[in-house]
Symmetry: C2
Amino acid sequence: MAQKPSVPRGTRDFSPAEMLRRNYIFDIIRRTFSLYGYLPLETPAMENLSTLLGKYGEEGDRLIFRILNSGNFLSGMEPSTLVGADSASLAKHFSEKGLRYDLTVPFARYVVQHRNEISFPFRRYQIQPVWRADKPQKGRYREFFQCDADVIGSDSLLNEFELIRIIDHIFSELKINVIIKVNNRKILAGIAATAGAGDRITDITVAIDKLEKIGSEGVRQELLQRGITPDVIERLDPFLSLRGSAASKLSGLKREIAASPEGQKGLAEMEELFSYLGMEPTEARVELDLSLARGLNYYTGTIIEVKADDMVIGSICGGGRYDDLTGIFGLPGVSGVGISFGADRIYDVMLHLGLFPEQTGAATEVLVINFGGEELMELIKIAAALRDAGIATELFPDAVRLKKQFSYADAQNIPMVIIAGSNELKAGQATVRNMKTGEQTTMSLSALPEFIREVKSH
Amino acid sequence: MAQKPSVPRGTRDFSPAEMLRRNYIFDIIRRTFSLYGYLPLETPAMENLSTLLGKYGEEGDRLIFRILNSGNFLSGMEPSTLVGADSASLAKHFSEKGLRYDLTVPFARYVVQHRNEISFPFRRYQIQPVWRADKPQKGRYREFFQCDADVIGSDSLLNEFELIRIIDHIFSELKINVIIKVNNRKILAGIAATAGAGDRITDITVAIDKLEKIGSEGVRQELLQRGITPDVIERLDPFLSLRGSAASKLSGLKREIAASPEGQKGLAEMEELFSYLGMEPTEARVELDLSLARGLNYYTGTIIEVKADDMVIGSICGGGRYDDLTGIFGLPGVSGVGISFGADRIYDVMLHLGLFPEQTGAATEVLVINFGGEELMELIKIAAALRDAGIATELFPDAVRLKKQFSYADAQNIPMVIIAGSNELKAGQATVRNMKTGEQTTMSLSALPEFIREVKSH
């Protein structure tokens, strides 16, 4: 057992300091979701493979972590099945369950399974880890957290509007400057149709989606590879490089894609959305970005993506409307729209930009020095009184050297230390040391909770 | 895809109503842990099998969910390895990772791995799901949550005392009447030695641990099966059936097991613990129960178990001191003590006894009826103003029949509905309907937030 223990590649421990910062993010997200009437939901880490497979494309299927059947997973298998089999076909015999890959498919599965208990429109949020057998690299993990809010069972664009307000609310509370990019799949379909490739909308969006990553020449190459003809690409180009305000883009488009009924519908939806945003403007800039595509092919209307202004990093939030997510599980025709926050990237942005408050979350506020001996009972009572007053308090458990106890307080960033030796206790007093300033104040024991509450609130 | 979707056996979805109740429990546990200086920690769902295997006994190893290696897990395997192999030996080739089985072993792994970054004594809490491939049955799940608090790197019995106070604090906040049973492994060892079977302490504790489940005759049979001689069993019996106060049990034992130094040490520890409890008594009864053994063989000192008074169910919290948990990972001689709350059983107890507050947690407080048309913009502003005041608000997204919107509010248990049609809005007013009493109050729009806050606080 001399081998140094470790965690699997691509997974992480979260230390107390990291957890306090992470909870700061999760708390703001959770509180905002609730404020807009979204309710918490949790689904199991494991799903049946029949639920997961075929929902994320071929590549996605390969990235699903599979769980070995428990017990004797070979029982009933012919030896001949084993020999010469490839791992993919063999896995079917060994494994019926997988770890959840995102929160959207489990949500769709939940809605269909519980449709008779749900009142629609159903607004839920879900903050849970997901797992992907991706090659780990900087900023990409095999276990990471998603924070999703979706409303299902309503076509209204008020939902999109409110989700954008939720995004704005969360990032302004986190003090991250962002730009919220929106587009509409129907507009993209209208553009594709106008360019003479209405049947190739999937190829076109998948390629456009990579614009930021591979540049416009890269997109051009990708489109060519996908068999889009050069003249179509030529006709697509001016749309994707349109500049100006949302209103001017929309009015330009209205003429350009007049012949596409779907495109016109997308424009009307976008106008309605911007009219709501005009009435109740967001702090962040909302930009109509015609090059925004989002690769996932279940989106059918509005699409949304959020980028940090002050740091180069992928999108930190994204989402969109899907008209038939639950169809795959046998409940067609239910429209929904949702957004997903990437907690790990948000964490990286906040750390990089120094946006976490100094004292994040509920860390210990007071350490009571343990002098042992007969005074211990008094110290126990001091700690109990502070806790009764709602102050997070530790009594150092061992009566070791003062130096050791103080360096513990330092290492733990505990802001206040209470020193009450036998002389002080005889006088019914204790000394509070402010660990940052070094200032020491002596007071009666009964004044302690009030004093510490005062220091806390400053 | 006509097949009705479902979750894997032994796993569960948690609906919004269930989540609000579960969060009520988790919040109280988390807040109390923090109040005593315990800090949050999270470890990955997956651990290397080398971390997990051999820590939970043979049966435990079988119950670990294993994750199939990703990619081509057959690569490098000889076909001959496959044929005739049993599943256990084959699994070694396919699988290097497993799902965490409890929170204690990952915690020990964390402490050893990060020992140079940790200041001891290290107090951490951890609230995460664990997975066991157990046969699912009523009240036993394959995915369930543990809530653990441990302090490591301190021998002091003040830690045990504070953990008992944490237990008391949590259950009294949850309004569950409990009895807290304590014992000490060293006392059990002293009893075993006195009975002439000091070398059989493990067999004896494992058997005694089942007392509640199989009765004293069952324990007797189990002890016989484990090769404990009838005369030893005869001598053990009076100890386990000792009655009376902790003080009287302790003073009786002092004579009876005088010849066992380890037993005497256990008695001294128990006396110290009860002296602290005498100074700062708990609300719940703390009972010295000499038949309490707790099966896990890493416990070396104090052991703790909590039972609900008003419902027959297994223990809802338990724990104890271990002197060498991190030894298995190469860091010997570090003593720790911890407790673990079973959130699922606590949930069942609270539901059964009706202990959840009526309005648990942050559910939606107000529904604004959507009349559509030109008034919509006004309704958007009303919803925004309520949210600015911290009131969880939904604006119904579609302008459907009033009846449908009201029955949605009913189904969601939303306590207040705001009705503001064109006439009311022209007068700058709105009507609030209390959905429980049916009472309606009309007021100016600016008075809404204050009115709703008042109703909320009653």
